[in-house]
Symmetry: C2
Subunit: 444 residues, 2 copies
């Protein structure tokens, strides 16, 4: 790893070159490197926390001056209970995951002595752009090494001291291993971002970790594929056949367990025939948790005899990711209308239906155009750890490559290998005297 003063173009070229070596290392060599990083960080705990304290001091001043949010200051703090330990444990957790490199996913006998094999391999060079949280450096370095990808890391300026301290330790640790120098590149200047985003020849994938604004800026300013999501406008469709208690529990969890999360619900679609049956109980449970309901006329009317105060919804409310205790409520006649609303207004993240009707649930899950489609479960389950992936690279709303919570698999691609014995193509064909391919599927 090198803390580079090189130009972004040179850093990217060096990363690309290192990626070609990294891709050929054995699982043992990559795991040993993770062990070395863990040991290095463990030994350097005091120095790193001291550096982090300097970042924190500046950030607290900036917050006091109103230039930085308190939540950003909080995310900076590596000294918070459990954070340091979690960071270190995360490195070993990643190390102990199944090796994603070199998995054979297809084997075909093309002809006698001619075999085709599809094998997973690293994508190449990742560009990771993140904001405040310094522990992301260790996490991403671990993911990159484990998956055999080189990485260029660009951190936020608020965490510069922590960033340099952690990365210096990782650098020293890796220099004792077979991971090539240059496999992990660090870039600290903000001006480098546009330059990096233009390097589509050497950088294969951008992974932003930060605010919606950061992701949107990056998506709008690069031709390199971006893994992530700018928006998380999740909806729940409440049907007349839903159990009221179940519905209230799920909607309350989806809205209130972490309102700022991308997988929190932002729009509640209510079946017209549920307005006076299931809906009032759900609305009451939400109101009891302090949720502001922004209702259309019909849903407002359904609550008129209750003591729940609601706000009139505007059209823009149905396109808004509130990220707070606000929920847009809209009445729809039926399943088709709910699906149409979601597919038009949603962000293709995670959608849920609450119903007792299995067929209706299956139709909903098949038709909504989203990375997650749930039946009688909270949208908040959309998460790589909750899915059991062991680690999470991010949540993608892309329509190609990786969708939904992305684990190590999202950092992999594949190549085709053919092993022959001097086979040539011209002898194969349909005509007389031509050889035919055998195309026998072989066991993996």
């Amino acid at each position: 790893m090198s803390l580079t003063n090189a130009s972004p173009a040179d850093a990217a070229r060096a990363a690309k070159s290192a990626s070609h070596v990294l891709a050929t290392l054995s699982a043992e060599a990559r795991n040993d490197a993770l062990t070395a990083i863990h040991a290095g960080l463990t030994a350097a705990r005091d120095d790193i926390l001291a550096a982090n304290a300097r970042d924190l001091e500046l950030a607290r001043q900036a917050a006091a001056d109103g230039k930085l949010s308190a939540s950003l200051v909080s995310r900076l703090d590596l000294g918070k209970t459990g954070k340091w330990e979690d960071m270190l444990k995360g490195i070993l957790d990643v190390r102990d995951l199944e090796d994603p490199v070199g998995r054979v996913t297809l084997r075909t006998k093309l002809d006698d002595g001619l075999e085709l094999e599809r094998v997973t391999c690293p994508i190449g060079v990742l560009l990771i752009i993140f904001e405040a949280r310094p522990e992301v450096i260790a996490n991403i370095a671990a993911l990159a090494v484990k998956s055999g990808n080189a990485a260029i890391l660009k951190g936020g300026k608020e965490s510069t001291e922590s960033f340099v301290a952690i990365s210096t330790v990782i650098s020293q640790a890796l220099s004792q291993t077979s991971v090539p120098n240059g496999a992990i590149q660090l870039v600290t200047t903000r001006e480098s971002i546009p330059q990096l985003l233009a390097l589509d020849r050497d950088i294969d994938l951008v992974i932003p970790r930060g605010s919606n604004e950061l992701v949107r800026y990056i998506k709008d300013n690069t031709k390199i594929p971006v893994l992530g999501h700018a928006d998380g406008l999740c909806s729940i469709y409440l049907t007349a056949s839903a159990d009221p208690k179940l519905a209230a529990d799920v909607v309350v969890d989806a809205k209130t367990s972490y309102p700022a999360a991308c997988n929190s619900v932002e729009t509640l679609l209510v079946q017209e025939s549920a307005l006076n049956t299931v809906f009032p109980a759900v609305a009451a449970a939400l109101a009891a948790k302090g949720v502001e309901l922004r209702c259309d006329a019909a849903s407002k009317s359904a609550l008129s005899s209750s003591n729940i105060t609601v706000v009139d919804a505007t059209p823009e409310d149905y396109n808004t990711e509130f990220l707070s205790l606000v929920l847009a409520v809209k009445t729809v006649p039926d399943l088709s209308a709910a699906i149409a609303h979601i597919n038009t207004h949603g962000s293709h993240h995670t959608e849920a239906i609450l119903t007792s009707d299995k067929d209706e649930a299956e139709r909903f899950m098949s038709a909504v155009d989203a990375s997650g489609a749930y039946w009688n479960a909270s949208t908040r389950f959309a998460d790589g750890m909750r899915y059991g992936f062991g680690t999470e690279v991010g949540i993608s709303t892309n329509k190609i490559h990786s969708r939904g919570p992305v684990g190590l698999e999202g950092l992999m691609i594949y190549k085709y290998k053919i092993r022959g014995q001097g086979h040539v193509s011209a002898v194969y064909g349909e005509g007389e005297g031509k050889r035919r391919f055998k195309h026998e599927r072989l066991a993996i």
Copy 2:
């Protein structure tokens, strides 16, 4: 299918909307639509060939005036022996492929009564931009319907009459099926291309079928993912341990069996120690087939006692996709130098090594950064039909999603479904009284 005079934006929106219905159709419904297309085209043979003859007449005039290449005229001709029959057979071949939609690729028990499932589904809306060959319309329409994707088709102006004739028939055929109107949109004006390429909200994937220039233009002018390759700069590394006869056969096939193909070899890397042993036989076989060798000093010198005339290579020759009977030859000291050359100068398409040393071959296949890495086989095997995929959407040199020859799988993504019983996220965690996820891998 609608032959639209609508704006590109309206066409794309209509395709997106139709895609949401198409994605929910059963395999039977999609296959029935393909049967209907096949029957419609069979019945309309004479009309379509007459329309094609009108295109051909104009194209022949343009060719006579020097405004169009003879090869383009030849690609236009649907009346050529076997072409019509191949087009029709292709539709049934696609219909009879295994259904790519709804395959379960992961199942996990998250907790009692809470199951996660990953299921393949269509990507959404494809934009297909192709040049002369009118049979591509039928082929792509079939692939789109089979994979549950909507498609916007933009053909070249030379094939307009054929394009309209074929698509009118497909349109009528589909109107009798459950495939929604609007699932396949046709656009005929050239001016629409830049507009379509800007519609990244409604179009999910662009597939260009045509010249390198077309692909490069598209890649440079859209943020929508592009499936394809602009370049096919394939190399073969000839080592000292290669069998001379095997090497000559493979290199001759890779260079001469179809020089204009993207998977033909363009650079021959020769191990220094092979210059006076294996190389002369390979060079003689190439020269006998009329291949012009552009050699560096060392490889030229190795042929000085032969009667093979060679041309001095320029640096640019090692970055050139000749697409003709020209081959750049470069001497390298060893495997590492060969890999470094390929990873720097290649286009990440298909590379081969000719060697008797298994370890060397495996190292080469692991280290070259390409969609195909072959041992003792011709680069010309890089092809979806030859790989046994049944159909080919294109060959991708992308580093994410699909790489190498792409079959129907490349038109698919997946979604996660969760089936619960009112499960909420807040009860799970590490602390006291919290539930733990079970994360049991279930059989698929």
